[in-house]
């Protein structure tokens, strides 16, 4: 069909020269149709072309000539379409017809034209036509056609589809029959259609939906979801080896799709649909399958069950996605306060209703298929038969119960009549029907339930506060939740429990009173004087485990624990005003990890693993190897530090290391008197050429031009962080330098994005060398400053002198021998082949995760003719180049061809590198800055380009890359150990680093470099 659909202009049969867009042409088409009422092999193509042309004329007529529609209607041309369809004319014609109808309805913009097309019920006839749905393409175009129609639904057009008298709503009923079609795009279309139907606010239609279709549809839907869940569970239980992640993540995504769909229905907020849906969800799926599986893990039994982790995981998803108050409250109530009696088949007392009711909450398969039950319901609608098959009773029963309740509480008048008409049903039916009846009042009348609950909160509060007594309450689900927090072995379950608690407390639909039961404050809690000690202790235990070197706590678990603890104890002893204030702070500075994203990841469902070979993100697994253990330690430190500061209500003063406010920005006007300035010409990549002065500040280099207003002042045209800079010489021009400054990475996985990439040309080679040295020195200085601040942050006993911090002076000969072989070897090769060397670092960079701490010892012998300070290191922007031109003096004297790798030569430099490139986890302030600026990046860059050439876009955000130039031993992986906190107020312990032995060479570095001869930059 693809070939033939190309040319739908012209009709292909070249009759006459008359305009194809005209009434006349339509008349001609009509003529063709009348001549070809029977589809044969000979006229098939002609008919297809005719149908296509007619559609095109109609679309044209919609905008230009209403007489076209008059004619179309007058001649009943739709009948021809139907006639063609009914002739079993084969897929060729069917597909074409469906496609053109699709296009037709999509493109009609005038209401009246639409009414024309929809009148006479022809469209409904097409909808109910039995196409060959086994044909993929027909199926696709058919469901697409229905979807197009559903997009046209509104309060007026709905009458063309829904017939109140015959109880027909083909568009909807035909569509939902495909709700479990194997093609996901068909299912998606069905969901779209149903949502488009539900959102039309037409009471009779919605009543029809509820009375005739809601129970069959929702019960089947719920069963369908449940089947997916069982499959998911099987997948988890049989896949401890992480082999089947693809399928698992697909099933998880499928479940998420379902939840989002359910939530979309609930959000439309059509009350009585929501009631039916909530009933089914709660009593047929969430309670009997998810919640029931929280306990009774060991027992056998016939009831379907899923494993604990899956059930916790899925419940968390439910609370994260669905916010419909009646549903989430009932669910939370059972989890937090319920016991097993909710599942017993015995008479269940219901406080709200004061009536006994037989109900089994059970996850069972609907007894009829959806199609069948729809059929039955329709029959019933027409004949009002008394004898009905079992399945329908399920639905009827539900309505009956609700109806009678309605009578009692006079809530819904429209149902009164139904209830009375159905009141004749015998109650004996109740026994044989495994039917679950929702406590409607409980759901819809929150006010009442709230009152009841408040009666009990006080006692429970004290019970909860006293902690141990909590077990006296028969709350098996809650007990299970608390027990799972214990993670001496691993945090497999604990993570899910934390997610569940987090999700519950952040659910907008949940009544805070419910959470008060366990004294877990809702997100915007009011003042409280006590908090849940059991929970708090559990969380602190998690942190304790995490702080142990071999703790089996994943970072994600720890962070979530921190979040919850903050939330839990936050308003303790705080006034209300302060609460508001603090809550503001919390919202402003703390960007919590996105729990919803975390829960979208199927991989956490499998047992925690340590190996990165699974491809699981670092935070969601255990560390593997020293580097990762160090990273984990660093991040544990940052999290706990942030938490402890937060709890003590102390502001963060030391982090982030680079503050945006303190940086020079473009268009700042600086006093440059007494500053060292070097004039240069900046040639950007796209050929732009500007005259600028280069100035080097503590953290930044800037390009300025003289301020016309004040002598000796300059306007900053560009400022970039020295740490993100790469400087390389230009092969055949000793006066030029290539400078690249990368945008500070917002994530370690993002590609380095150069914000400045330009060639700087100086007036002579001496100035060029001075500039290069100044930049290199500035960079060392900047890093040194940062190292000092890190040391201060970690309470490292560092001598205040900069020389020590700098600590280049390591006996190089000794180090060379201690170098790990591969680094040594590769760096040697790297000197002649930069790409090889780069790859070494690239591979280091690829370690997944956010914080990277690495110690790289590298020996870089003299480079070739034009040494580049960064060739070996900064292959990416986030991983700063390690260049440390620490050596200087001796090397300057050397000829470039010297073999400087001889061990006794002192110009060998070792740079230990520690990079903490932080993202979400690092520090809160940074984070907000990062996220803010990354958002604005595009915008800003656009604005800036007005003033600057495109490549001269200034840096928007600070980076937190910390480079140490300490000696080899300094900050080695092993030395970076976190000690578990003795008391929570002094978590900042950091084992110290052996200091560099000799500091003599440091001074040399500080000497002005000699402008003669190429500099040897060692790495």
């Amino acid at each position: 069909m693809f070939g033939r659909s190309r040319s739908w202009v012209g009709g292909g049969h070249g009759k006459a020269a008359r305009s194809i867009h005209s009434l006349d042409h339509l008349k001609y088409m009509y003529h063709v149709l009348t001549k070809n009422t029977t589809v044969t092999d000979h006229n098939r193509n002609l008919l297809v072309e005719t149908i296509r042309s007619i559609t095109e004329i109609l679309i044209w007529g919609d905008q230009n000539d209403s007489s076209v529609f008059d004619f179309f209607l007058e001649k009943n041309m739709f009948v021809f379409f139907l006639n063609i369809l009914r002739q079993k004319s084969g897929r060729y014609v069917c597909v074409q017809l469906l496609q053109t109808l699709n296009i037709l309805f999509e493109n009609i913009s005038h209401e009246t034209s639409l009414y024309y097309l929809l009148s006479n019920n022809y469209v409904n006839s097409i909808i109910v036509h039995k196409f060959d749905f086994s044909d993929e393409e027909i199926m696709a175009y058919y469901i697409s056609f229905l979807k197009t129609l559903s997009l046209k639904l509104n309060n007026h057009t709905v009458h063309f589809f829904y017939n109140e008298h015959t109880n027909d709503f083909a568009l909807y009923t035909e569509a939902i029959k495909f709700f479990n079609h194997p093609e996901s795009m068909v299912r998606i279309a069905v969901r779209t259609i149903t949502l488009n139907v539900y959102k039309v606010d037409n009471q009779p239609m919605l009543h029809y939906i509820r009375d005739k279709t809601a129970v069959p549809y929702f019960s089947n839907l719920v069963w369908f979801i449940g089947s997916h869940v069982i499959e998911l569970d099987n997948c988890v239980q049989t896949d401890e080896e992480h082999r089947n992640r693809g399928k698992l993540s697909d099933l998880v995504a499928e479940h998420l799709d379902h939840l989002h769909y359910l939530n979309d229905i609930l959000i439309i907020n059509c009350e009585f649909l929501n009631d039916v849906l909530t009933d089914h969800l709660l009593n047929r799926l969430f309670l009997p399958l998810y919640v029931y599986s929280l306990v009774n893990q060991d027992q056998g039994g016939e009831r379907p069950k899923i494993s604990l982790q899956v059930s916790l995981y899925l419940l968390s998803q439910v609370f994260l996605i669905i916010h419909y108050a009646p549903l989430v409250n009932s669910l939370a109530e059972v989890i937090l306060n319920g016991d097993l009696s909710v599942f017993s088949s015995k008479v269940e007392q219901d406080i709200q209703k004061n009536s006994a009711k037989s109900s089994i909450r059970c996850f069972i398969k609907p007894t009829e298929t959806l199609e069948r039950s729809l059929e039955i319901n329709k029959q019933k609608g027409k004949k009002r038969v008394q004898k009905r098959p079992n399945y329908k009773n399920v639905g009827e029963e539900d309505e009956e119960e609700k109806g009678s309740e309605d009578n009692q509480d006079d809530a819904d008048k429209t149902k009164g009549t139904e209830a009375s008409s159905k009141g004749i049903r015998t109650s004996s039916e109740n026994e044989e029907i495994e039917m679950v009846i929702m406590e409607r009042c409980k759901l819809s009348e929150l006010s009442i339930s709230t009152v009841t609950e408040q009666n009990t909160t006080d006692e429970e509060k004290s019970a909860a506060a006293s902690g141990s007594e909590i077990t006296n309450w028969n709350r098996p689900f809650l007990d299970m939740v608390y027990n799972a927090l214990d993670c001496a072995e691993d945090d497999y379950y604990a993570l899910f429990v934390l997610c569940l608690l987090y999700a519950m407390s952040h659910n907008k639909g949940i009544d805070p009173v419910k959470l008060e039961r366990i004294q877990l404050p809702a997100q915007h809690a009011e003042e409280r004087n006590s908090y849940n000690h059991v929970l708090a202790e559990g969380l602190i235990r998690i942190m304790n485990y995490a702080a142990q070197p071999d703790g089996k706590i994943r970072l994600a678990t720890l962070e979530l624990g921190c979040l919850l603890l903050k939330q839990l104890v936050f308003s303790k002893n705080g006034s209300i005003i302060k609460d508001v204030h603090l809550a503001f702070l919390l919202n402003k500075f703390i960007k919590p990890m996105n729990v919803e994203y975390l829960m979208m990841d199927a991989s956490i469902l499998l047992p925690p693993t340590g190996t990165p070979l699974t491809g699981i993100d670092f935070v969601k697994r255990l560390p593997c190897g020293d580097v990762e253990r160090t990273r984990r330690a660093i991040r544990v430190f940052f999290m706990l530090r942030s938490l402890s500061l937060h709890l003590r209500d102390e502001p963060e003063t030391q982090l982030p290391l680079t503050r945006e406010e303190g940086l020079i920005k473009t268009d700042d006007v600086l006093d440059l008197n007494n500053s060292d300035l070097i004039a240069c010409t900046v040639i950007t990549k796209d050929g732009g050429q500007v005259q600028r002065f280069l100035a080097v500040d503590i953290y930044q280099m800037s390009l300025v031009e003289p301020d016309v207003a004040r002598l000796g002042w300059g306007v900053v045209k560009f400022a970039g962080l020295l740490q993100d800079m790469q400087v390389t010489g230009v092969e055949d021009d000793s006066r030029a330098l290539n400078i690249i400054i990368h945008k500070p990475a917002s994530s370690p996985h993002s590609k380095p994005f150069p914000i400045l990439q330009a060639t700087f040309i100086f007036s002579d080679h001496i100035r060029c060398i001075i500039a290069k040295q100044r930049l290199a020195k500035g960079r060392i200085q900047a890093r040194r400053m940062k190292m000092q601040r890190i040391a201060a942050l970690l309470d490292l006993p560092v001598q205040p002198s900069t020389e020590v911090v700098m600590g280049f002076g390591h006996s190089s000969s000794a180090t060379a021998q201690h170098l790990p072989f591969r680094f040594y070897d590769q760096s040697r090769r790297g000197s002649s082949d930069p790409t090889v060397q780069r790859s070494v670092f690239a591979s280091v960079d690829k370690v997944p995760g956010f914080a990277v701490a690495q110690c790289i010892n590298q020996h870089n012998p003299s480079p070739l003719s034009s040494p580049s300070p960064s060739s070996g290191s900064g292959s990416t922007g986030r991983c700063d180049s390690v260049t440390a031109s620490s050596t200087s003096t001796p090397s300057a004297a050397q000829s470039p061809s010297d073999d400087t790798s001889a061990p006794e030569q002192p110009q060998m430099t070792i740079s230990g590198q520690m990079i903490i490139s932080g993202q979400t986890m690092l520090t809160d302030e940074t984070l907000s800055a990062v996220s803010k600026s990354s958002k604005n990046a595009l915008k800003n860059s656009d604005i800036e380009t007005a003033n600057l050439s495109p490549s001269l876009i200034p840096a928007q955000q600070p980076t937190i890359s910390l480079i140490t130039d300490d000696n080899t031993d300094a900050l080695s992986v092993e030395s970076l150990t976190l000690v578990p906190p003795v008391d929570p107020h002094s978590i900042r312990t950091f084992s110290c680093i052996p200091q560099s032995s000799s500091q003599s060479e440091v001074c040399k570095v500080k000497e002005p470099e000699r402008p003669s001869g190429p500099q040897v930059e060692a790495h």
Partner: protein, 194 residues
Amino acid sequence: GKSCLIRRFTEGRFAQISDPTVGVDFFSRLVEIEPGKRIKLQIWDTAGQERFRSITRAYYRNSVGGLLLFDITNRRSFQNVHEWLEETKVHVQPYQIVFVLVGHKCDLDTQRQVTRHEAEKLAAAYGMKYIETSARDAINVEKAFTDLTRDIYELVKRGEISIQEGWEGVKSGFVPNVVHSSEEVVKSDRRCLC
């Protein structure tokens, strides 16, 4: 603009009278990227369904490639590209979507608000190709789709995209009248606020 682009590609025709708010849903088209290798593209358009998160989510998730459209005569649509990318990323995990950045309406060069250079720069930053098209003048429409298809095909061949059960992104199968098996590639066309 995007619905026109899709229709141009699937029908070879630029519909001047299209309603911008209503999208075209799964149009499909066979593309022959090398002799005997025919790939059936299914092209989805999310237009008109943004209100329902479940729907857009499902679309993203089941797509393997996307044309990220912006209107070269509309600066804002260009600025939105970034947000679209981020949003998609969230929804398609753990899969990835191969994108081609498309500057649309290049026939209206006189009203251009986004230069080719900056669009190329943005595309490069995200590792995308950039192409300028016009549905009205049939410029590069075929190329946009075939380029994307070829990119995806290469990834599939190299095993970086694997065919997975339950995922609609890429499926292999026999297309009637085609000797070789072909991969079916589902794409969603992304909507940019134009």
